[in-house]
Symmetry: C2
Subunit: 376 residues, 2 copies
């Protein structure tokens, strides 16, 4: 139940054991074309998403490395680990990084963003749609509008929304959007995809210097014209990604998003029912994540006890990262997780909390979750 890599359905795993195919042949080309068409649907974009043989971090760097020159002015909006990672990456390409950091778990304040855009007049603005480290859904549409007013390129990390939550990248005003394979798409780890708008292509072409060779988006675009990748792709992961996207197509995006939302709602209801506090602080434009729920660890037990107790019961939950280590734990509802998985998780959590004396009676969490699932 960790926020990626998620468990992978047997049919998706088995797709990887097929014999290899030549990546310059027709069979690969057809598969790549199918993957791009399916990705376009989950990205809700008119642009072509390219598939990178590398993790979500590779796609984040593809975005930055292709858009950012040594004098590019970039504002990196952040309220958690992955938002801050954009600033770390950008710092390798330009000296003009303007980090706009909010406390981890705090909400993005639109007035602050507006001021930062006015005073910095950036070329590029980055933000994470769903901050996996804190369980908060950031106001992408509202920030997208502000960025467009300043005629800047908006890079949106949708690593833990696309394929699970509503993330219509064109509508949100995201010029560059990225996703990882091992989250809501339900595929194995090791791949990512990136979509690039016309405005972003213009910026890329205007750039004075080239970014990394391995992540050169113009090389990807050129090869895509031949249904190929510029360098040897991770063929088995392509097999798996196609199968994972077929699973999504069969479920239907609308039902899939509803399932993710209800699963997260159940996780939140269970936590609240058990008297636990959700971690993120919401303002009027923010929401709890629909793919990962961050909960404060209650007094009476440690992070290690909580995770260890869960593991003994067959459930792996995530702790907090960096400054949140020991303070929160996280339950994901990404990919092909079911209501049964969530109920087992809540039951294990009740047992662990009761054993530690952190709650008096068990059952309130399960009851709250079941009430939510009745909506399904």
């Amino acid at each position: 139940m960790i926020p990626g890599p998620v468990p992978v359905l047997p049919r998706i795993r088995e797709a990887m054991s097929k014999p290899m195919i030549f990546h310059r042949g027709d069979e690969f080309g057809t598969m790549y074309g199918e993957i791009v068409a399916l990705l376009r649907t989950v990205f809700q974009t008119r642009n072509d998403p390219f598939v990178l043989s590398g993790s979500g971090t590779c796609a984040m760097e593809a975005a930055i490395g292709n858009l950012v020159d040594k004098d590019t002015n970039i504002v990196c909006i952040a309220n958690g680990k992955f938002g801050e990672r954009f600033a770390d990456i950008a710092g390798r390409y330009t000296e003009q990084v303007k980090p706009l950091n909010t406390t981890w778990g705090g909400s993005i304040d639109l007035e602050t963003v507006k001021d930062a855009l006015e005073s910095n007049n950036p070329d590029v603005v980055t933000m994470v749609h769903n901050e996996t480290s804190t369980g908060i859904l950031n106001p992408a549409r509202e920030v997208g509008k502000l960025v467009k007013k300043h005629d800047a390129i908006f890079v949106l990390d949708c690593v833990t929304t696309i394929g699970g939550d509503e993330a219509p990248v064109d509508d949100l005003g995201a010029d560059v959007a990225i996703v990882g394979s091992q989250k809501c798409l339900g595929a194995p780890p090791g791949m990512s995809a990136i979509s690039v708008s016309e405005a972003a292509w213009s910026s890329i072409r205007e750039k004075q210097t080239n970014g990394p060779f391995y992540m050169d988006l113009e090389a990807y675009k050129k090869s895509y014209g031949k249904n190929q990748t510029p360098y040897t792709p991770a063929v088995p992961l392509f097999f798996a990604l196609r199968e994972a996207l077929e699973v999504i197509k069969e479920e239907g995006m609308e039902r899939r998003i509803k399932r993710h939302r209800i699963l997260s709602k159940a996780a939140r209801a269970a936590a609240t029912g058990l008297g636990l506090n959700l971690f993120p602080e919401l303002n009027e434009v923010s929401n709890y994540s629909n793919t990962v729920t961050a909960i404060n660890i209650p007094p009476g037990l440690t992070d290690v006890q909580l995770k260890g107790g869960m593991k003994k019961r067959g459930i792996i939950v995530a702790g907090g990262q960096a400054e949140l280590k020991g303070k929160i734990f996280r339950i994901a509802s990404m990919g092909n997780i079911t209501d049964k998985d969530m109920l087992k998780t809540v039951q294990a959590l009740e047992e662990v909390l009761q054993e530690a004396g952190a709650i008096k009676t068990a059952g309130d969490g399960l009851e709250a979750a079941k009430t939510v699932f009745a909506e399904l």
Copy 2:
């Protein structure tokens, strides 16, 4: 029979269909440790090889991006496509790239190398051990000695030697050596590994600016201390790589290298027996590749006819790349290819050549190959 991605044994492919494991857990850590230990044997190095979730090109860029600053002086020795790729990549990091290009298929001349090192006094020198695009084995040991005399860092691309041919990276004087998963190691495509010597670490630490975030070798080193990778790894490809390395261990490196050498010798003998000309021009310090054989396409048929005729008979061979397109074809003997595979290939080649009227009688190629296999 192409020079990678190679066919992958069922047991290696099936390893990928196992349930995912958490990449921050003990099971992954143990596996990563095992992979590194096995890689150390095939690299013949005292250093730790790191595994990258990206192709050989990703590893080439990891080498350059971590060693090369904007003023770094780098000599890129090349006699084919992959040698030249180093210069392309280096051009993204420094303006001081000194390409030392020999004709594709020509041999590296040590006097020319010596002069280039003396006149340029480089910080870094790159070369490809086995030039896959032309079927030539470059004199790594001799060049390594010259590079060391100049106290420069020697980056050696062993993408198509390590795991198949003799490539003792420490003995060859390679400070940084790289390998791809989908060549002689017999694993699926999408991964690579890189080893870094103490001298290279010093250079990396002295560097003023950071290279790409995704390929940051210091981050890899730090994470390796915890048996982890800095970013989410391609877990199924790690499963496959471990299995592929187990296959190598079972065969034994000595036998494996002998098999690769005899297979290539048979390919060369068959070509010569059929009256075809081998493509590379050898000098006294160069050798024919022991993992891929490049042959001139004889008059009487085109590249497309040759490859198409072979494909109809179930055998895929590679054509020439870039300036060699239409001029040569290539038969690989990488990974877990057997003598039977090679004999089938030679037989198909004879049929195709006879059909096109390029040879009068069939059988001479097969006979020559069989004579070589008698040595096994």
